[in-house]
Point group: C2
Chain length 383, copies 2
């Protein structure tokens, strides 16, 4: 542990060095800060934090100077205790493995609710415009209810419009549902959804990578969207104008080789224009009801990434192509597509498809343009 | 000419043997009678008719006995003159070459209107449900007007609902538009569209493969649909229930390697369910406006199959793959996919795509599961 950093916090449980360091990191840097992730990958969260603090002491006017100066983990923990918010870090049982496929996985997650965050495994994200139509709200609520009634958790952003309708539908179906916020969990966002968020926490979980007190900005909304996309096996866009943030979620999902689906609507509705564009331009699958969403995403969501699946089982159930690709993925360092193509002789599309499946199975993790095996010890074994 | 068949009809112009024979054929057999097409392909319309008449004389109770017995070409021609209906046969300048790609091309076409049937070249079919919604009618009318205002003829079936809206839109845009009927041209069908059909004939052409007096039956509607699909470079389905006949038109278009597009609508509308199925199950392209229809079909419709394009030009403008496939297609006998794949080493999808383009260019004709070159003399040269 770095000098000046204590593992024991008065008035609270003992924090592991790792948890302590990640809690500190999350109060210093913005989400999606690539250099932070690189440093943490290279040195581990604890040593990387030590380097950051040493740099800050040497350069008092640095970018994170003030945040480091005012960093008070004791107080932060007291706030979390008061709010009933827990900190989840990679390696925790409830950490959603899908997040590790992001270029910038969250350093930690703040979570509040009756369910463990592992309910997000095998989940489907249902997202869309704030300025939704009655048609869109109705479809989103139906999908939300339909999915949870088939055992699939609904993830969304708790925003006005489609997001809220999806959560409400899921709650009507008995939950669970996961709300991923773009602000700290000290306040409801949007404020008007205080009651809805309380209900979500009561039948699921509300989560954010931002510490309490951190307010939502445009960049933080965009950062939040990547968590929704990465946490679920696929994203359904119910309504979206051509500039809707939910299209951003869909694009992240596509980059992560997740399923992307869009609900059509009248061509005369600007709120469906983004959905139609997704189908036309990016090959998103047109879906019209819960059954079609599950046809597309169901097998994965219900079977392949369930927490009851031991990795040995996942590995042993790969087909020949899956095994060939899996054996071409290195444990350390990562391999890019070209290298794996040389080893497998698969075309790019097939290779990406198989890699996507291996990622969803938690066997492989993507890191930018390279892939590597998830170490066996890091794979969840609960089955 | 066969005994008993005269080429000169009192009171009318001299008919070629071919035209006379085809006129007779069309009054004897149903559309889509495969054996007839095989016989005409093998022996030519004139000799095949001779054989049919000889067989009928030998077997008075045969399937076509009564129609042959009551056949009166003089009277038929008088009726056509009175109705202002002309007979169009393969080889005529206005014969739509796309029809030759059908397994059962029409033996002849009855046409009435100010335009030659060649306005159908490069056309787009806009079809859909009779029981359309206000939304569908509005979209169909917009597409009809948008297409003709961009110089693209609109083909449809003059039925209630989407068909009529597409024609009306096209007329509002100044035409031309082509109505393909499932009954003879002696009467309007549906009766309520008498005024609409008169207007279509005034700014386009009304056409049928059925002789005057022949009434519409289910099988004749289905037969009519194949003409709509084959006559156009692509079919747009605006609204369709899951059992709509317009889906049949779309499937024929797909089999003929024409473009198939579908307009989405609310998932809560049964009249859009067929469109969504087309996109989901058959890979039809989702389109939301005229621009997107033309993005899909425009280049072909405006450039590649225009009547001003000489076949030498079409052939000389093929790219390397196009030339390779074209040279693999035999002039006689036809080759199936497997044979051409052996010669071109292309995958099925690529090969079908190139063959589709060659068909649209009028260089190649599909006959069931085989393809053959269109003889140079049969290709239209007007450029």
């Amino acid at each position: 542990m770095t000098s000046g950093v204590r593992g024991h916090v008065p008035g609270g449980a003992v924090l592991s060095q790792e948890r302590w360091a990640r809690l500190a990191w999350s109060r210093i840097v913005e989400p999606e800060t690539v250099s932070t992730r690189d440093s943490i990958r290279q040195h581990g969260a604890v040593d990387a934090l030590g380097r950051l603090l040493a740099d800050a002491r040497a350069d008092v006017g640095g970018p994170y100077g003030q945040r480091i100066e005012t960093l008070d983990i004791d107080r932060a923990r007291a706030v979390l205790d008061r709010l009933g918010v827990r900190v989840v870090i990679p390696g925790d049982d409830e950490w959603p493995l899908g997040l590790d496929q992001l270029r910038t996985p969250p350093i930690c997650l703040y979570a509040k609710g009756e369910c463990e965050l592992s309910v997000a495994e095998g989940s489907v994200a249902v997202v869309g415009s704030r300025a939704a139509t009655a048609y869109g709200l109705s479809v989103a609520a139906d999908l939300g209810e339909g999915l949870v009634s088939r055992g699939v958790t609904v993830v969304s952003g708790a925003a006005f419009g489609i997001d809220a309708a999806a959560h409400r539908g899921a709650l009507a179906g008995g939950g669970p549902t996961v709300a991923v916020l773009a602000r700290g969990l000290d306040r409801a966002y949007p404020q008007a959804h205080e009651g809805l968020l309380r209900e979500i926490a009561g039948h699921g979980v509300v989560v954010s990578e931002l510490p309490p007190g951190w307010a939502p900005y445009r960049q933080r909304f965009i950062a939040r969207n990547r968590l929704i996309a990465a946490m679920s096996v696929g994203t359904v866009v119910v309504e979206a104008g051509l500039r809707s943030g939910s299209l951003n979620t869909a694009h992240v999902a596509r980059r992560l080789v997740r399923h992307v689906a869009a609900v059509p609507g009248p061509v005369t509705s600007v709120q469906s224009a983004g959905c139609h564009e997704l189908v036309r331009q990016t090959g998103a699958t047109l879906v019209t009801d819960t059954g079609e969403v599950l046809d597309l995403m169901g097998r994965l969501s219900l079977d392949a990434v369930g927490p009851a699946r031991a990795p040995e089982t996942a590995e042993s159930e790969l087909d020949d192509v899956g095994r060939a690709v899996f054996s071409a993925v290195p444990v350390r360092g990562g391999a890019d597509l070209a290298r794996m193509q040389a080893l497998t002789a698969l075309d790019t599309r097939s290779l990406l498809s198989v890699l996507g499946r291996l990622c969803v199975l938690g066997l492989v993790v993507r890191d930018g343009e390279t892939w590597r095996k998830v170490p066996t010890c890091a794979r969840r074994v609960t089955g």
